[in-house]
Amino acid sequence: MNRRTLLATSAAILAFGAPAMAQDDPTKVGFVYVGPVGDGGWTYEHDQARQAVEEEFGDAVETVYVESVPEGPDAERVMTEMALNGADLIFTTSFGYMDPTMNVAAKFPDVKFEHATGYKTAENVSAYNARFYEGRAVQGHIAGHLTESNVIGYIGSFPIPEVVQGINAAYLHAKEVNPDVEFKIVWAYTWFDPAQEAEAANVLIEQGADVILQHTDSTAPQAAAEAAGNVYTFGQASDMAEYAPMPRVSSIIDNWAPYYIERVGAVMDGTWETSNVWHGIDEGMVGIGEITEAVPAEVKASAEDLRDRIADGSYHPFTGPINRQDGSEWLADGETADDETLLGMNFYVEGIEGDIPE
């Protein structure tokens, strides 16, 4: 008996054997986190949603989580262990867990998996993601109005489509209200490293940026901006309200709780099916944090109008005419981007300088 069949057999025993012994066992739900639950950003919000699941179902559900799991072979080990320990549903909450999730899911056909921000699915693997670019459009709109140096700094994490969408959406909407705006983009190559993020924010401020957008998870750039003085920032993943009203003037808030509750419920009543959802401001998965009084009233009003138009579907943040960075046409006048192109987005729009690292 090789290792794979051993794992499959033990999974089968757990899946079929355990329920037969005790019918009213709680549904066991596992969560794999990329950062610590106390990061104040991305992982913090996933953990809030986990707690919401516990509150909703009480004793009928049992949740376990493992934090700060590196994206790689270690993730596979953690997931395998969760599955062997009888998890019925496992949420893997970072892009880099995609292939590990697919591998482990193939070994445990009776365990359901939910992978965040990826694009691969299988019989027992669903993908879910939030349309963060909708929030980025609102941020870009505010940033374009606020900047006086016309330099906006952007701290990228990894050069993956989700981050590139955000940069493009923010740039297009900053450019719309301020034609002279320029983006300086720094890749931190990490989701969470406060010292590195603070350093990146300082470098951008030193090079003239007076608005900083971040796609990394800690509040360190907020603190750096506060120390520098006249610099504006936006909360990322979580509200980061402790830095309001300045430097944090608004935020993108991830709200995973409704989706997690729905999916756990589906596993309980046996209606879970594989799916691939991409929810935005409309469904409430992307929230726009309160716009503070540091933003002029008319800018606040136009930003909220933009938010509402995106929410009711009357406006798409990627509406043509939009050219690619090299000048070739991407979207014709009035055309909107399709999800497939967005999910694989690997190019900057016209006007952004620099290359996306390979």
């Binding site: 300086k184 406060p194 010292a195 090079q207 003239g208 360190a220």
Partner: protein
């Protein structure tokens, strides 16, 4: 590409700041290793210092007391390592790794009520007159006091190791503990003191992150700085002077690669990020491994 947007003065000034936490942690580890103790728990002691320093600073309102608390916290944790390896004769590599894991967990536990809390501010020290010198002034004389304290500690360690009798004993213990024991020196006591000094310095380095550089508490915030400190000690071939060079090289590359990116230079950052490690390996090859303290990492027992 627009290199003119990089201000070399600000670049060099931020280099000194970026290098300070790893410099502090590395100088402590250097003393421990010169006494023959390989403590791989630097990361754990740093993060413990970061959280203890933060807690003390927030509750007392004084960053200075915070740094003192961080030094005590780091030293206390290192003494756990000291008792295990020097008195109970456990393996230093395994115990050091365990200390890192323990420190990461302990700090997360201690820091639970302090997430999102702001630290008291720690003002820069404008050295009078000197800070007005053009070019040199802003680079060298406009930092917070810890940057200078770090350099003073390095100078002090150099004087101690090379110009004092106690330093000679410490080096003797590190080079050949049996000979030092035969001469009547207390190997254990020397090593316990060196370990505690290493822990205190690592604690200061961690607190520099949580009180000055970031400045706030987040779990896992050292993010590998302790391992870089260990690499720098090897890079410096266990000499305090070269340690400063190594720390500035590592710190400089971090700052430089971010600056180049923001200026739009298209060099793959991976190359820059790996240069300090490549330099460490190159130094190791050139120097050959024979220069490390003779009893480094070996277990000492008087009856053997």
């Amino acid at each position: 590409m627009d290199l003119s947007s990089i201000n070399p003065i600000l670049l060099l000034a931020s280099l000194m700041v970026a290098a300070t936490p790893i410099l502090l942690a590395a100088i402590g580890e250097l003393v421990a290793e010169r006494a023959g103790v390989l403590n791989l728990g630097v990361e754990g002691m740093m993060i413990t210092g970061a959280v203890v320093g933060f807690i003390v600073a927030v509750n007392t309102g004084s960053p200075w007391l915070g740094f003192a608390g961080a030094a005590v916290g780091g030293a206390a944790l290192s003494l756990v390592f000291g008792v295990l390896t020097q008195y109970l004769l456990s393996n230093q590599v395994a115990t050091g790794l365990a200390l890192t894991l323990f420190g990461l967990g302990l700090s997360a536990l201690l820091g639970q009520g302090y997430i999102g809390v702001k630290a008291p501010s720690f003002p820069d020290l404008d050295v009078p007159l000197l800070s007005d010198i053009p070019v040199i002034g802003p680079i060298v004389f406009r930092h917070d006091p810890m940057v200078y304290l770090g350099l003073f500690i390095v100078l002090g360690v150099w004087l101690f190791l090379n110009r004092s009798r106690a330093g000679l004993i410490l080096r003797a213990v590190g080079e050949n503990h049996d000979a030092a024991h035969a001469l009547g020196y207390s190997v254990r006591r020397t090593r316990m003191l060196a370990i505690a000094f290493g822990g205190a310095c690592a604690g200061l380095g961690g607190a520099y992150l949580s009180l000055v550089r970031v400045p706030q508490w987040t779990e896992g915030m050292t993010a590998g700085a302790g391992w870089i400190a260990l690499a720098i000690v090897v890079f410096a071939s266990w000499r305090p002077g070269r340690l400063v060079l190594g720390a500035y090289l590592f710190g400089g590359v971090t700052v430089l690669q971010l600056n180049l990116q923001a200026a739009g230079v298209a060099i793959p950052v991976e190359y820059l990020s790996m240069t300090p490690y490549l330099a460490t390996i190159a130094v190791l090859v050139i120097m050959s491994a024979g220069r490390s303290p003779g009893s480094l990492g070996k277990i000492f027992h008087a009856a053997r």
